[in-house]
Structures are given as structure tokens and as C-alpha cells.
């Protein structure tokens, strides 16, 4: 396949681009294999540089001889293009549709992206697993998939021995199953199931059902729809927020992670977490529990390590789960925003413990954006095996390499951070859980005043950290080195 076959019209003049909250711009629209560009007429400044993979839904409306294309992006941004000429409009729309639905991993932008400032191998091997395991003490958290008990209640001696050897005699462990007892039981019909107590005597099973799959994707879509519905009156907004169920999912995920953390920290017990496949809600729980328990997961580097370990290498199928975002009209396949739910929970933690995470909201937003559409290879494919087949590490850049450049890192840090060695136990009461406006309303609410407040916080902290002291020191040394200065 050649990209050029998909591009029916490569350039259109005199296109009007509008985006909520920004002044409209007129310019020349270009479509390349991976990008949509708009450069304003006279100077040719590029006003828009949109990764086509970021487009979630394309809507076109024709009026007379011109047409309007609405692009709903995976990062929840909405753009409008007014295109003169009906044919051009249709061509552009279908080109974007075709390019944005190219599903072959190796055709994607990360395989073509070659920024001069980064080296290909950078950032791919910075999180050796052994290093993490050395820090772990007596209790451990394990994850797995469901046991294949099946309808005939099969047993597996090796599996029982494995779980048995983890615990010393008299020790107990908890199995947190992220499905309801009913669902776990039903799974036996299809060959799955749960650990029967008789075969795993030292383990106690707890069921904490978490939403996943299609219902979670629909919840995400409903929330985004409610957020962008301008006709909602005040008395219907809360009802719509509720009926999306998103905040209930946040509460449930946080509660379950806290339960796992509590079993380890308070009961000093070993914990095994699994759902069905062990690649979705399982990871949500284990990763969150680690952020709650372990201060090293709350640093910028530690959090990247956690993502690498608990999401990417653990085989969360990013390619399938993040194929579409909240706007897509395409028939849903295996999309589900589990990673977004995780990021939301981390945001809730950062709101309740504003000093305890080394990174700020910006990192979480950037991770969301990159999981759905990226120039980097970090979130490509569904597991390590696929990544290795596609030679992702050899032929794409790592997101971490980019984020860890000093100038980027600076923007991601939380100025209020101070190391907190303790477990951070969040409140999971409804009053304590808020809508993550920075993400869901990023392109809708005006953020100027909040950005100013953030800048002010940074200024206050910086003023305190560096300049006052430095300038004292500088002036002091300056004056001392020049005894005549200041004497007049």
C-alpha cells in the first residue's frame, strides 16, 4: 500500500480552520501521509500540525458549493475546516478517513519519525526489571490471569504448588478477583474460573468487580458527550455526569487498589490480583496500588518505570484498547479506556496529595495523548512479542527519551513536590472524587486563569528556592570581590 493512493487531494487553498476558544485562521490545507497541515496564507506560518492518527471521527456537511469537515480527535479536541469546493471537501474527508484508519503498525508515524535531537536507541532500556525486584521486601503483590478451572473443575498441581510456595507455613494471602463472584463462576463455562478454596487453602478470595470492555468505553463516550453538550442546563448536568458512570468507575478502581494496598501494608499479607486475562483491570489495580504504597513510583522516573513494567511489558493491549477514543462512530471492537481510567485515578491521588507526586497533570495528559496517537513507539502494539516482531525498539523513538530531555522534564515536574515516604491513603468518598476537568474539559473550559495560578505557584516556589538565595550570595561575593562597590 502506498500512502499516496489514499490521498485524493493533497492541497486545498483558502481553508478556514476554527477551534473552540481560538480565533479562526484561513490558509492552505495540506495532507501528507501522516499529517494534516494548515499554513496561513501570507507568511506561510504553520497554524496546525495534526497527526492524522489522532483523528477519531470525521464528519462532513455540504452547503452549496462548499463544505465543512468536523474533525473529532482522540485527545478530545474538536476542529472545523471550511473547505471551498464540494469535491475538495469530499476528497479531503475521505483521505483523512482512510489515512486515520490505517491499521498496520509498521505504517504508523513512529516508524517514520526521525527527530534530529534524539537517538533511536535512547530510552528503550532504562528500566531493568531486576532493579525493581531488589527493593521488594517480604510481602509481594502478584498478578496473573484467571486459572483455567473450566466446567469440570480441573486442577493443576503445578499452579497450586506455585501459589503454595509463595506463602510460608501459616501465612495467608489474598486473591483479589476484579470480576464479580457471579462473573467469575460463569467464566468456568468458557474454560476459565477461580481458584477453589480446597485446592488453595492458604488463599482467601475477594471479588471486587471493576468495569471493563465495552461498558467502560461507552461510559467514556457518554462523559465526553455530556461535557461537550452546550445545551445542558445546570439541573441536568449532574444527572448526565452520573449516568455516564465514569466517576463511579474511578471510585471503584481506587477503592480496589486501596484494598490491595491495605492487604499488603496493614495485614502484611501477600496479594494476587487477577481478572480474566490479567491484562486490563488487573494492571489497573496493581499499578495503582503501587503508586499508593511506594514512594519510588511517585517520582517522574519511577512512574515511567511503573508504566513500562505494569502496563507495557505486562502486555496491556494498547493497540486494541486505544484504537478509538470517545468520538468514534466506528463499530467498537476491543476499545476500552483502562489506561485513561488509571491516569484519572492517579490524578485524583495528585489532587488529594498535592505534594506527594513528583510530576504534574501535564505528564498525565501527555501520556493520554501518546497512548492514543503518538510519534513515538512506546505505546505501539499489544505486547512485547508483537513489539519485537515489528522491531519497535530498533526502528522507533521512545517517548521516555523525549520526555526526559531536561527542557521537557522541567515542564512535567510538580513544583510542590517533596518526598513523602509514607503510604498515601486517599479518600474514596464521593465528595472527594472530582471530574478531571484538565482532561475532559481541556479544550472546552477556559484555562487561562488556572494556568496563571499554576504559573504563580511556580514563581513563588522558584523565588524561594533559587533567586533570593542566589542573589544574596551573588551580591555578597560580588561586593566582597570588589571592595569599592556599593561604597558611595
Amino acid at each position: 500500500m502506498e500512502f499516496s493512493e489514499l490521498i485524493k487531494t493533497a492541497t486545498v487553498e483558502n481553508v478556514l480552520l476554527s477551534c473552540a476558544g481560538l480565533p479562526a485562521v484561513r490558509g492552505t490545507l495540506c495532507i501528507t501521509s501522516h499529517h494534516l497541515l494548515l499554513s496561513s496564507c501570507p507568511g506561510g506560518d504553520v497554524e496546525l500540525w495534526l497527526l492524522i492518527r489522532n483523528v477519531d471521527a470525521v464528519e462532513k456537511r455540504l452547503t452549496g458549493s462548499s463544505g465543512t469537515i468536523t474533525l473529532r480527535c482522540k485527545d478530545l479536541k474538536v476542529l472545523q475546516l471550511e473547505i471551498p469546493g464540494m469535491e475538495e471537501c469530499l476528497n479531503i474527508a475521505s483521505s483523512i478517513e482512510a489515512l486515520s484508519s490505517v491499521d498496520s503498525v509498521m505504517m504508523m508515524y513512529p516508524f517514520f519519525y526521525r527527530p534530529p535531537s534524539l537517538k533511536l536507541e535512547e530510552g528503550w532500556h532504562q528500566f531493568p526489571l531486576e532493579q525493581y525486584f531488589q527493593q521488594i521486601s517480604s510481602q509481594v503483590m502478584l498478578r496473573s490471569s484467571q486459572p483455567l478451572t473450566g466446567p469440570n473443575r480441573r486442577r493443576c498441581r503445578e499452579d497450586e504448588t506455585l501459589l503454595g510456595t509463595i506463602l510460608d507455613e501459616g501465612e495467608r494471602g489474598f486473591i483479589i478477583d476484579t470480576r464479580s463472584a457471579q462473573a467469575a463462576k460463569q467464566a468456568r463455562m468458557t474454560g476459565g474460573g477461580t481458584e477453589p478454596k480446597s485446592s488453595y487453602p492458604q488463599w482467601r478470595r475477594l471479588h471486587r468487580p471493576l468495569e471493563r470492555g465495552r461498558p467502560l468505553q461507552e461510559s467514556f463516550a457518554k462523559l465526553v458527550e455530556a461535557c461537550s453538550d452546550p445545551s445542558l442546563s445546570m439541573d441536568r448536568w449532574l444527572g448526565r455526569l452520573e449516568s455516564s458512570r465514569w466517576l463511579s468507575h474511578v471510585k471503584a478502581a481506587l477503592s480496589t487498589a486501596c484494598l490491595a494496598a491495605q492487604c499488603m501494608d496493614r495485614e502484611e499479607a501477600t496479594v494476587l490480583v487477577h481478572g480474566a486475562e490479567g491484562t486490563d483491570t488487573t494492571l489497573l489495580v496493581t499499578a495503582l496500588a503501587q503508586v499508593i504504597l511506594d514512594p519510588s513510583c511517585r517520582t517522574l522516573a519511577g512512574f515511567q518505570g511503573l508504566l513500562e513494567r505494569e502496563w507495557i511489558q505486562a502486555g496491556h493491549p494498547f493497540h486494541l484498547r486505544c484504537a478509538h477514543s470517545a468520538y468514534s462512530h466506528a463499530r467498537l471492537k476491543q476499545e476500552a479506556p483502562l489506561f485513561l481510567l488509571f491516569l484519572d485515578c492517579v490524578w485524583q491521588l495528585s489532587r488529594q496529595f498535592p505534594f506527594s507526586l513528583e510530576f504534574g497533570e501535564r505528564l498525565l495528559l501527555s501520556l493520554f495523548d501518546n497512548a492514543y496517537a503518538s510519534a513515538y513507539g512506546t505505546f505501539l502494539c499489544n505486547n512485547e512479542k508483537e513489539r519485537s516482531l515489528c522491531k519497535v525498539k530498533e526502528s522507533t523513538h521512545s517517548l521516555w527519551a523525549w520526555l526526559n530531555r531536561p527542557e521537557e522534564q522541567q515542564k512535567l515536574l510538580n513544583p510542590l513536590y517533596s518526598h513523602n515516604a509514607l503510604v498515601i491513603w486517599p479518600s474514596v468518598e464521593p465528595q472527594s472524587i472530582q471530574l478531571w476537568q484538565g482532561l475532559f474539559l481541556r479544550w472546552i473550559r477556559p484555562s487561562q486563569h488556572l494556568d496563571e495560578a499554576w504559573a504563580e505557584i511556580q514563581r513563588l516556589v522558584e523565588e524561594n528556592n533559587a533567586p533570593a538565595k542566589e542573589s544574596t550570595g551573588n551580591r555578597l561575593s560580588q561586593s566582597l570581590s570588589d571592595p569599592t562597590a556599593g561604597v558611595s
Binding site: L238, L247, E429, R445, N464
Partner: protein, 659 residues
């Protein structure tokens, strides 16, 4: 003291609303002014203080094996659950509190016995802190268009108005008196805010007595005079803050609203804010949601929506935004009224002023604003906040709603206000506490008759003295958010209105962020300031030093010490945290034990002129755990904090505790 049947009961249990395991045993005292619970246990003897005037309801519940439960709900949203061993004691406490919580004479209120040990001069100075004459001068009146009128010198025209009000220069005494006779309770149009920049003004009044067809020439002239006082505009807005239906219903009673045909050059506008009864019920519903035991997310959101509370807050804000826009952007004067012009009108005028003028967003300016739009114009504090025993149908959270509007704005404009959330919470507390005389009675006339200023202290002086506690570290007077009018987003903006847990769940510290950014930044700011001061001192010394050619290295090392101190204080701050009972969604928070007054000895507790009680946080059950883990939560046997095994029907599952 004659109402206290039982001054002390021992072995009372104070329950934690969310966690039955957290009950504490202690002694309950009744004094003339407070209910005090002192926890047993020699180390801390934590205390919970509740002013009688804060009590909104007392409920005696069915006696159980463990004793007789007593539920006390407070106007500052604290809920206290006690279990008293003997039913007779409980009954005595109940009867005493019923009487103590409903004083019948002003003299019974706390402000008449509260003595902060200030001398007479300090007290008088305190009352002078907020001076409305000064405020009108600051606004720019009197001037060519506005003058003070003295028709109400002895409250002769309107007894709920102040003696001094500003009216258009062209409005003669005849016009004013005539207009007052055509308005409910004779509350004629008077100046609330004047915009120096463009002469536009906000005036306020009550509804006209227009019925279906009545007219009043003087009233028409009065509105005309308001328009003329703003030569740049050829009309005025008349804003009726009631829902249209309510206003129309009033016509049948000979009241109503302005007929556009009779008044030349007015544009009439309804802005539907509901009446005090709707608001009272709405708050009640919202508080029921706050009191739910372990609600799900849906219970909470549905309950909040059904209460309608945020919808009402938004309606008030929208009215303020409309008026501020008319004044600032269109340069048109606005006359605001509702029915009597002392509830919704006060809310709307003060929200509009706050949006228009950065001065009202300073600490001092905010005090002035409350004094101007609420206290002086006869907002019925006594009736609305039930200070004296009265008609429960008069009670309504009118000023609470205004205070919440301010908080909602603070959330949207974090750099625009000089004060912080705590300032608002403490003002709300003292509106109900009756510890200071500012909000007593229903009008200026009544306050003067009671000689409030000679017999009580002013809250404003008290807050001003402690202003360091109330500063917003992000505020800078030169910040862009403080140049001119604030423009809150109009649509879509529903999501901007948030539930204020800092107020309505104020005493449940476990629900709030565990680390305070405000306090941390204040400390940072203070330290920077100290460094700068030291820098100055250093500079001076340096100059001397260079003259004398001597060295001094001590100063620099001292600074480094200080920065270490600050770091320490943040990390201390970040410690206070314990897990809640995640194991079971039906249970909740751990230790929110009442604590304060650690250094207090018991002898002090019962003294009346206790200064400590001026701190609204005192009555809090604050979570002041040292920050180390809560050991009581960790029971070796697993105890209640251990996750209980799901009781599925699956026979594989066993109860863990049995094993």
C-alpha cells in the same frame, strides 16, 4: 444558667458518623454558652466545643442497650452524635439544650458575655475598621450626580434602611417619600454601587405596589432620576430577581413589578432566583446527601442534582454577571429588586459589586461589601439565621449562598482574591455564632437601639487581627486577574459549579485533600520575604563592613538553616494520613478524633471568657494526628479493618476470620 438542668454527664460516647469503631468515651459539660465534650484519656483530653447558637436541631433517638442517643446538628454543618448512658440524663440535656439553643432575648446571646479582654478604646477602634462613609467616598460619591439624603434621619421613611443613603441629586425629598410609599416596606431605590469610570450605577429597592394598574408619579420620577444620573446612557435596566410567576402572583396582592409602559426608558428583566422557602428546602436536601452513610457515587450525584442547590447558586451568579456586564460593558445603570429587597437583592448586588470592583476582592473590601449590601441595608440576620427563637419559616441560607458564590468564583479565578477559603468559612461560622455583635438584629435601627457597638465586639477587627491566617498566597494586586471586572464563563459552564465540601463537609477532614497548598505557599512566601528582609539588612551591614573592612560570614549560614526548616514543615504536613476502610464499601473513615486544646487544663474549660472560643475551628473535630500511622487501625486479629470475604453462594468461599 437557670436553664441548665444537668451541667455534667460522665461516660458519654461521642460517635463518629462514618465509622462505628471510632467512638470515644468522655464527659459532657453544659455551660451557659457552650456544649463541651472532653474525651477521657489522660494524654490528650481532646475537646469538642459547640456554641449554643450554632445548634440548629437536637434529636433524641430511641434508647438502645448502650444508652440514649442524642443527635445535634449545627448551623456550621457540624453533626454531633452522642450516646448518654442514662435516659434521664439524656432527657435533661435535651431539654436544657432545646432552651439554650433558642434564646428569646438578645441579651442571652454570646456576644453580650464574650469578653476578649480588650479595653474600651480597642473595642471602639474595632468598630471603626469598616466605615461606610469612607466606602462611598472611595466609590466617588457624593459628586455631581449623587448625594446623601437625610429623609431617613430618624428612620422616619424606612425603618429597615440605614440613616444615610445615596440618591440621585435630582431626586427631591418629595420624590423619595412619594416613591417610598409606592414600594414594599417603603424600601425606595437607593445607591448600592457607583462605577466611577462611566457613571453607571447599581441601585436597589423593594417591589413596586403596582398591583394590576396602579401608578406613582414620584416613583416614575425616581427611576428617571437614576437614569439622568448616568448621562451616558438613555435607559436603565430594572432587574426583578424573582421568577416571573412569583412576581405576577404578587400583583394580586397589590404588589408586583414595573410596567414598561408607565416608566419611560426602562428595560425590564426577570431573573428567576427562587424564594427563601425553596432555598431552605434545597439546602436541607443537600445536607441530607452529605449525611448519607457511605453513599455511592450515584447516590451522591443524584442527590446533589435533586437538591437543586447548584442550580440556585448558578442563578444567583448569573444575575450578578448580567448586572456587572450591564454596568461595565454597556455603561447602563441597573435597579435591582425582588419582593422586599433584602434577600435576593442583597445577593445579587453584592455578587455584581464583587465582579466589578477588585477592591471588594481584598480582605478589607470584602468586609466593607458585607457591611454595605447586607448589614446596612437591613438584611434580616436575626430571622434568616435564627439567632433568637422565631418563625422557622423565616430561616433561609441567603448569605450562605452568597458566600458560596464567592467560593465558586475563587475556584475559577485563583489569583483574584486576597483572602482564602478559610476566611469565608469563618465568616459563615460567625454569622451564626453570635459571638460578635455585627450581625445581630434585623436592621441598623434595632442594632442602634441595643447599643451593639458599646456592648459587643466587632468581628471585622477580630478577623483583621488574624489576617495572616486568611491570606491567599496566589493573590497579587498587580496581577491581571485584579485589573477591572471579572468575567466568569457563561456557557457552557455547568461543570464550573462544584460541590463545596470544604464548607458542607467541613468537619469531615478525611474528605479533603490531605495536604494544604495554601498553607504551604504561605510559608514559602513568608520565608522568601524574610530572606529579602535579611538581604536588605545584609546590604546595610555590607556597606558598614566595607567601611570597616571586616568580615562577617554568619548571616549566610543562618539563611540556609531557615530553608531547611521550611522543607521540614512541608514534609510534616504531608504525613497526616490514615487509610479508610476500603475493605468494605459500606464503611468509611478512620479516626477523625476530636482534638484541640491539648495544652489546656481542665480548669480552663468551664471559664466563660475563654478566648479560644473565638476560633471557629475550635469546635471542629479536627484530624490532628501527628502524621504517624494510625496504629489503632491495625488489629492483630484483623479486626474490623480486615476485608470481609465476599459471601457469594459459591461454596468454595469461606469466611476468612473463621480460618
Amino acid at each position: 444558667m437557670e436553664h441548665i438542668r444537668m451541667p455534667k454527664v460522665e461516660n458519654v460516647r461521642l460517635l463518629d458518623r462514618l465509622s462505628s469503631r471510632k467512638a470515644v468515651l468522655g464527659t459532657l459539660y453544659l455551660t451557659a454558652t457552650h456544649v463541651i465534650f472532653v474525651e477521657n484519656g489522660s494524654e490528650t483530653r481532646k475537646e469538642t466545643w459547640v456554641l449554643h447558637s450554632q445548634i440548629s436541631s437536637i434529636e433524641k433517638q430511641a434508647t438502645t442497650a448502650t444508652g440514649c442517643p442524642l443527635l445535634i446538628r449545627c448551623k456550621n454543618f457540624q453533626v454531633i452524635q452522642l450516646v448518654i448512658p442514662q435516659e434521664r440524663d439524656c432527657h435533661d440535656i435535651y431539654i436544657s439544650l432545646i432552651r439554650l439553643a433558642r434564646p428569646v432575648k438578645y441579651e442571652e446571646l454570646y456576644c453580650f458575655s464574650f469578653n476578649p479582654k480588650l479595653d474600651k478604646e480597642e473595642r471602639e477602634q474595632g468598630w471603626k475598621l469598616v466605615d461606610l462613609n469612607e466606602e462611598y467616598n472611595r466609590m466617588g460619591v457624593p459628586n455631581n450626580y449623587w448625594q446623601i439624603c437625610d429623609v431617613n434621619r430618624d428612620y422616619g421613611v424606612c425603618d429597615s434602611y440605614p440613616t444615610e443613603v445615596y440618591v440621585p441629586k435630582s431626586a427631591t425629598a418629595h420624590i423619595i417619600v412619594g416613591s417610598s410609599k409606592f414600594r414594599s416596606r417603603r424600601r425606595f431605590p437607593a445607591l448600592s454601587y457607583y462605577c466611577k469610570g462611566n457613571n453607571a450605577s447599581i441601585c436597589r429597592s423593594s417591589q413596586p405596589l403596582s398591583g394590576f394598574s396602579a401608578r406613582c408619579l414620584e416613583d416614575e420620577q425616581m427611576l428617571q432620576a437614576i437614569r439622568k444620573a448616568n448621562p451616558g446612557s438613555d435607559f436603565i435596566y430594572v432587574v426583578d430577581t424573582r421568577p416571573k410567576l412569583n412576581a405576577m402572583a404578587n400583583r394580586a396582592a397589590g404588589k408586583g413589578y414595573e410596567n414598561e409602559d408607565n416608566y419611560s426608558n426602562i428595560k425590564f428583566q426577570f431573573i428567576g432566583i427562587e424564594n427563601i422557602h425553596v432555598m431552605r428546602n434545597s439546602l436541607q436536601k443537600m445536607l441530607e446527601v452529605c449525611e448519607l452513610k457511605s453513599p455511592s457515587m450515584s447516590d451522591f450525584l443524584w442527590g446533589l442534582e435533586n437538591s437543586g442547590w447548584l442550580k440556585h447558586i448558578k442563578a444567583i451568579m448569573d444575575a450578578g454577571i448580567f448586572i456587572a456586564k450591564a454596568v461595565a460593558e454597556e455603561g447602563v445603570s441597573v435597579l435591582v429588586h425582588c419582593s422586599d429587597g433584602w434577600d435576593r437583592t442583597a445577593q445579587v448586588c453584592s455578587v455584581a459589586s464583587l465582579l466589578l470592583d477588585p477592591y471588594y476582592r481584598t480582605m478589607k473590601g470584602f468586609m466593607v461589601l458585607i457591611e454595605k449590601d447586607w448589614v446596612s441595608f437591613g438584611h434580616k440576620f436575626n430571622h434568616r439565621y435564627g439567632n433568637l427563637d422565631g418563625d422557622p419559616k423565616e430561616i433561609s441560607p441567603v448569605i450562605d449562598q452568597f458566600i458560596e458564590c464567592v467560593w465558586q468564583l475563587m475556584e475559577q479565578f485563583p489569583c483574584a482574591f486576597e483572602f482564602n477559603e478559610r476566611f469565608l468559612i469563618h465568616i459563615q461560622h460567625h454569622i451564626y455564632s453570635c459571638q460578635f455583635g455585627n450581625f445581630l438584629c434585623n436592621s441598623q435601627k434595632e442594632r442602634r437601639e441595643l447599643k451593639i457597638q458599646e456592648r459587643t465586639y466587632s468581628l471585622w477587627a477580630h478577623l483583621w487581627k488574624n489576617r495572616a491566617d486568611y491570606l491567599n498566597p496566589l493573590y497579587r494586586s498587580d496581577h491581571s486577574q485584579n485589573q477591572g471586572t471579572l468575567h466568569p464563563q457563561i456557557a457552557p459552564c455547568n461543570f464550573l459549579y462544584k460541590f463545596w465540601s470544604g464548607m458542607y463537609n467541613r468537619f469531615e477532614k478525611g474528605l479533603h485533600p490531605r495536604q494544604s497548598v495554601t498553607d504551604y505557599l504561605m510559608a514559602v512566601k513568608e520565608e522568601t520575604q524574610q530572606l529579602e528582609e535579611e538581604l536588605e539588612v545584609l546590604g546595610e551591614r555590607l556597606a558598614n563592613l566595607q567601611k570597616s573592612q571586616l568580615g562577617d560570614n554568619k548571616v549566610k549560614s543562618k539563611q540556609q538553616d531557615r530553608s531547611k526548616q521550611l522543607r521540614l514543615s512541608t514534609s510534616n504536613n504531608s504525613l497526616a494520613n490514615t487509610p479508610q476502610e476500603y475493605s468494605n464499601d459500606l464503611k468509611s473513615f478512620p479516626s477523625r478524633s476530636p482534638s484541640q486544646g491539648d495544652e489546656e487544663d481542665s480548669a480552663l474549660i468551664l471559664t466563660q471568657d475563654n478566648l479560644k472560643s473565638s476560633d471557629p475551628d475550635l469546635s471542629a473535630n479536627s484530624d490532628q494526628e501527628s502524621g504517624v500511622e494510625d496504629l489503632s487501625c491495625r488489629s492483630p486479629s484483623g479486626g474490623g479493618c480486615l476485608p470481609s470475604e465476599d459471601s457469594g453462594k459459591d461454596s468454595d468461599e469461606a469466611v476468612f476470620l473463621a480460618g
